[in-house]
């Protein structure tokens, strides 16, 4: 049998595409971005603690982890356990689930798009678009739990589409319900959104047939509920809603400032007339401000500016870049046009309404964070792929060679240029130039401290959560952590900080206290970790970490007794 050259080229391109997506997601996973995110340390150490003691770092075991006071779902932590067992506790291990689930999501996307469009080439390109899109690429190279949860939602959407096409096959709604529920084990927002999407699918499938609607709603809810039993209580309790209330209280502070300022100006502008200024209370008040803010966040989430231009999460996407490359806006517009034009088709209506619906709960938390809006962003990919499909139809219907070839080659070149520019920026510029975003020097400091402390107590100054990072990188015994960790009081937003572990590793407040204590000659020396560079102490510095250019000092480590001997004590008033 002769194999056609076209098929060979297609196969080679497919293999290259797959290899490119896989290698870009796993290349230097533990080191790029360098450093560690707070939640990475948190999830990782919780998993390590459960692996070794059967309890989290608080010494508890529940369906949510107290963590830093926000009660995280346990999905990611449990997924991490076998990975840590095999690869040990490291940044690479904490990022691996996200990278693997991200890859599975891309595979699922291919099948979903093929189901929707019945065009394998377009489905494959759509999957590649997802694989290389800044938001999914950025999230998959870090720990983010929502990107793991997204996999289950995508799988659920696949079965929801099948269900919409043939609502009589009960198997599809059951699978859709179970998968939607599983996503909720990873990320709280997905619990509400998963249920919402399921409800939307059932409503669209049986609109006008109330008996069938009731029947399938019951089936969907039953299977979703059975799978969700462990976290059902949390969904409407204080633990499940803790993160939302933390976000709300953070925003309320800003609202109060705006309200107070505008009321004051109203008073002054009205010639200090108390009656007139009281009328202004009607326009500037907390409920009004919150409603406006929800409305504004909702509009932002749907704005092409947010999708293609603006970075709303500095640790995931390069500044001045959107969730998708600018180039995709063409397909987005075409896709919206196509879906709206063919809205009579149930699955099109479902996709459009899901897109509009998925932004509502995110807007209610006033957040534009990429990791929260994974479903909305994913649906944008589906819309863009519809646009690509529609574009192909138009191109082949209205144009002949050479216009077709020129268009395809031109668009491919633009895509390759923009994409390579993005990737070069990601690997060579963005992840290197912002040490404060990822605390790039943290692994180096913590490992050095682990190896060189020689039993000395370690004091961190201006280094939030340093004790947790230390425990993570030095695999501190979780039993010791659970029994001796000291936690700060919750701040006004309910967040906690671990300030010390067994008097070995603590967060300090003033450098001179720990140095001048050596007036007492019997006091054992300590290691202090300070931020920035102290040129006057350089002669006795034990360790210095710098940014990637080697120019800016990020942290320095000193021995307190050596500093005392240097005569530092007594300089506090002059420095």
């Amino acid at each position: 049998m002769m194999i056609k050259p076209v098929s060979i080229a297609k196969t080679i391109l497919t293999v290259i595409g797959i290899m490119l997506v896989v290698s870009l997601r796993f290349y230097g996973l533990g080191d790029i971005p360098g450093g560690i995110a707070l939640d990475e340390a948190n999830y990782g150490y919780d998993a390590y603690s459960i692996l070794n003691t059967g309890k989290d770092m608080w010494g508890q075991m529940g369906i949510s982890l107290k963590s830093l006071g926000e009660y995280k779902p346990t999905g990611l932590t449990f997924t991490l356990i076998p990975i840590i067992k095999v690869f040990s506790l490291s940044t690479f291990a904490t990022r691996l689930p996200s990278a693997i689930f991200g890859l599975l999501t891309i595979t699922g996307t291919f099948y979903l798009l093929r189901l929707l469009l019945k065009d394998s080439v377009i489905a494959f390109i759509g999957a590649i678009f997802l694989g290389l899109s800044p938001w999914h690429f950025g999230l998959s190279r870090q720990y983010y739990e929502s990107v793991s949860g997204l996999f289950f939602v995508v799988a659920s959407v696949y079965f929801q589409i099948k269900y919409l096409r043939d609502p009589k096959i009960t198997k599809n709604i059951i699978l859709a319900a179970v998968l939607a529920s599983l996503g909720g084990y990873y990320y709280q927002v997905l619990r509400y959104l998963g249920l919402g999407l399921l409800g939307l699918a059932v409503c669209i499938a049986h609109s006008g047939h109330y008996k069938l609607l009731a029947k399938y709603s019951f089936i969907g809810l039953l299977f979703w509920g059975l799978t969700s039993i462990p976290y059902l209580g949390d969904m409407f309790g204080s633990r499940g809603l803790m993160r939302l209330s933390q976000e709300n209280s953070m925003h309320q502070y800003g609202d109060v400032l705006v309200i107070t300022e505008n009321r004051q100006l109203c008073y002054l502008s009205s010639g200090k007339n108390p009656l007139l200024s009281k009328i202004c209370f009607m326009w500037w008040n907390k409920p009004g401000e919150q409603m406006m803010k929800i409305g504004k966040t909702y509009i932002e989430l749907l704005s092409p500016k947010y999708l293609f231009n603006e970075n709303s999460q500095s640790d995931t996407i390069i500044p001045f870049t959107g969730a998708y490359l600018e180039f995709m806006v063409i397909f987005y517009v075409l896709g919206l046009y196509y879906l709206v034009k063919n809205i009579g088709k149930k699955e099109n209506l479902y996709l459009l309404l899901s897109y509009l619906f998925s932004a509502i709960p995110i807007a209610a938390s006033f957040s534009l964070g990429i990791q929260r809006n994974v479903i909305g962003l994913y649906l944008v990919l589906i819309i863009c792929t519809y646009g690509l499909y529609f574009g192909k139809v138009l191109l082949f219907k209205y144009f002949k060679w050479p216009t077709r070839t020129i268009t395809i080659v031109g668009l491919s070149l633009i895509f390759i240029w923009l994409q390579s520019r993005y990737l070069a920026n990601y690997f060579l510029v963005y992840t290197k130039t912002q040490p404060e975003v990822w605390h790039t020097e943290t692994p180096e400091i913590m490992r050095w401290l682990g190896e060189h402390n020689n039993g000395r107590k370690i004091v961190f100054l201006d280094f939030p959560y340093a004790t947790l990072y230390y425990s993570f990188f030095n695999k501190l015994d979780p039993v010791e952590f659970q029994s001796s960790s000291k936690w700060s009081e919750p701040d006004k937003f309910g967040a906690l900080n671990v300030v010390g572990v067994s008097d070995k590793v603590v967060s300090g407040s003033g450098v001179f206290e720990d140095i001048c204590i050596h007036k007492n000659k019997t006091e054992p020396s300590k290691l202090i970790v300070i931020q920035g560079h102290k040129p006057e102490w350089s002669s006795v510095v034990l360790k210095q970490t710098t940014n990637f250019t080697g120019i800016h000092v990020l942290h320095e480590i000193y021995d307190t007794k050596t500093l005392y001997d240097l005569g530092v004590c007594g300089q506090e008033n002059t420095k």
Binding site: N262, L265, C266, L268, S269, S270, C280, W283, W284, G288, M292, G295, K296, I299, E300, L302, S303, P304, K305, Y306, F308, N309, F320, G322, E326, F327, V329, V333, L336, Y337, V340, K341, I343, W417, L418, S420, R421, A424, N425, F427, L428, V429, K432, T433, F548, T549
Partner: protein
């Protein structure tokens, strides 16, 4: 019975009209308080043309050299009768925009009446446009594109008639004439107009390209005859100077980004010269320009731009969009309707395609400013009205009267709440609390100087265009201005500013020059205008201008001789030190 219902309707319509007129003209010269540099420039150019038949540079042309940006002269000529009748002041310079803004509402009413069968839509549409932050804000300031927009809207009216009524040649002539008239006010409208012709003709006659060409020629001839005086400018340096100024300003930022990324590439690649060279393919000027234009284009189409972010803080408060927030769902509905009827109704194809097109030149200029994008915003408004029409249709189909009434009342309450919040914010908060945007103390300072100058010369410190403001508020003789005005050399972007008008008014760079001019020699006293408060000189301050709370001092005026004598008595040593340091320099 019919008559009974008509009375409240008439009362409602009349109150609506009166309210719109009142809101647009109430305290037009004082809110926003102060003056924009272009208001002063247009106003004084008009005054100069009125008195001497020449602009402030002593030229007579279709463009005004102004600050080196070669403005179309339409607004200045329109201002002449207003200046003649009302005198030269801020109110006068804003009057054409307010007046033409009102005419836009009238033409919009006629346009909406033609587009929609439902009688209530034109009324609602006019209210929405009249009170929308962008059009309301522009109409209360001098902005020339707002005047040009009137002619564009007239042209759009005839373009839609042309599309709806089988290609009437009379309409074709009107399209061209009105569009050409718009170009006398704002350069961008010249190019956008020609592009919109093309869209209209292709939609009307596709695929009959012969007819497109035939009608296109007729249209271009009509347009060209009216546009003749500025045709040469369109492709010459004068017409494109503003675009090149914008590009030059953006290029500086581009160069910084390119240089930084190339450097980082070099360092990240372990100082490998060949890898760093490869990065040149990714970060270079043409690439950055194209990417930036694409980003601006996406911005301009974004609901965020339309409903959330004021990109021009002198027109729309920072946290408001071009339209009010509650109109967003209606906009989405409008887009839905327009897409659904895209191929069935030519006028909808025209509106949607034109909306997508008009943002392209604006994006190339790299600007999201509201005043540049008046056509885009007007077309977005039409899309909103399509949504509104559909919403009204849905509501009228609801049989449940209680539900219908609840929905109507809810919509009205939401609209009234957000609209009144916006207006209260505009009149009571936003226009008062930002003296730097509108230089709110300028009229007070300049009028005081005019009245109390007593033949003393004036020197400004940190007060860009101070001499121009003085000329504007004190109606300085334009002949004297033309002969004695001295302008700075063009800066790197092609801008210039007036440095002095003879010895009468000028910008200074070091206040001690004037104070020390009295040290050991006789010189005439001068009035010194400084920014902020000099607490150590308070005993001899002649005039203080403050913000609206009366707390923050914005400018102070001193007499150089009085100040010198005061310092001589109070701190002679300090004074001598300052003066000898100056001498050494």
């Amino acid at each position: 019975m019919r008559a009974f219902w008509n009375i409240p309707k008439i009362i409602l319509v009349i109150s609506g009209i009166l309210l719109i007129i009142f809101l647009r003209f109430y305290q037009l010269g004082n809110i926003p308080h102060g003056i924009n540099v272009d208001e002063a420039s247009y106003g004084y150019d008009a005054y100069s043309l009125l008195k001497t038949d020449k602009d402030m540079w002593g030229n007579h042309d279709t463009t005004l050299k102004s600050f080196g940006d070669y403005k179309p002269a339409g607004l200045a000529y329109t201002l002449i009768p207003f200046v003649k009748y009302y005198g030269l002041n801020t109110f006068t310079t804003r009057l054409p925009s307010a007046f033409f803004g009102l005419l836009i509402l009238v033409i919009t009413f006629i346009l909406l009446k033609m587009l929609f069968q439902n009688q209530i839509i034109p009324y609602l549409g006019v209210v929405i446009l009249a009170l929308s932050p962008w059009h309301f804000g522009l109409s209360r300031l001098f902005y020339e594109p707002n005047i040009g927009l009137l002619f564009v809207v007239c042209s759009i009216y005839f373009q839609i008639r042309y599309l709806k009524m089988s290609s009437n040649l009379k309409h074709l002539a009107m399209i061209g004439i009105f569009m050409a008239l718009g170009g006398y006010y704002y350069s961008v409208l010249r190019y956008l107009g020609v592009g919109m012709f093309g869209i209209t003709l292709i939609i009307a006659h596709y695929p009959n390209y012969q007819k497109v060409i035939k009608h296109g020629l007729v249209l271009l001839v009509c347009w060209g005859i009216v546009a003749l005086p500025y045709l040469g400018d369109m492709f010459g340096s004068k017409g494109l100077v503003r675009l090149s100024q914008e590009r030059a300003m953006h290029e500086f930022g581009d160069v910084l980004v390119i240089t930084e990324n190339r450097q980082m590439c070099y360092i990240s690649s372990g100082y490998s010269a060949s890898i760093a060279k490869a990065c040149y393919a990714l970060w270079n000027k043409p690439g950055e320009k194209v990417v930036n234009a694409a980003r601006t284009y996406v911005d301009l189409l974004s609901p965020k731009y339309l409903f959330l972010t004021g990109y021009q803080k002198d027109v729309v408060p920072e946290k408001s969009g071009a339209f009010l927030l509650p109109l967003f769902p209606i906009f989405l509905l409008g887009l839905y309707v327009c897409i659904q009827k895209f191929r069935k109704q030519k006028e909808i194809s025209y509106i949607l395609i034109s909306w997508l097109f008009v943002n392209i030149p604006i994006a190339i200029a790299g600007a999201q400013n509201i005043h540049r994008n008046v056509i885009g915003l007007y077309l977005a408004f039409l899309i909103i009205i399509y949504g509104l029409n559909n919403l009204v249709q849905y509501l009228s189909k609801i049989n449940n009267k209680i539900l219908k009434l609840t929905l109507v009342i809810f919509s009205i309450v939401v609209f009234l709440w957000s609209q009144s919040r916006y207006l209260v914010n505009y009149f009571y908060v936003y226009t008062r609390m930002q003296p730097d945007i509108w230089l709110s103390d300028t009229p007070e300072v300049m009028e005081w100087l005019g009245t109390n100058r007593k033949s003393r010369n004036i020197v400004y410190y940190d007060y860009a265009a101070g001499p121009l403001y003085f000329s504007f508020y004190n109606h300085l003789d334009p002949s004297y201005f033309q002969q004695n005005a001295s302008w700075d050399d063009l800066n790197q972007y092609g801008w210039t500013r007036i440095n002095r008008i003879g010895e009468l008014v000028r910008n200074g760079n070091n206040i001690w020059n004037e104070i020390c001019s009295h040290h050991g020699q006789k010189s005439d006293p001068k009035l010194l205008v400084t920014g902020g408060r000099k607490s150590e000189w308070q005993d001899v301050v002649q005039k203080q201008a403050k913000n609206f709370t009366g707390i923050h001092v914005l400018h102070e005026i001193y007499d150089s001789k009085v100040l010198y004598e005061y310092l001589y008595q109070k701190d002679l040593k300090g004074l001598e030190m300052q003066c000898s340091a100056l001498e050494k320099k």
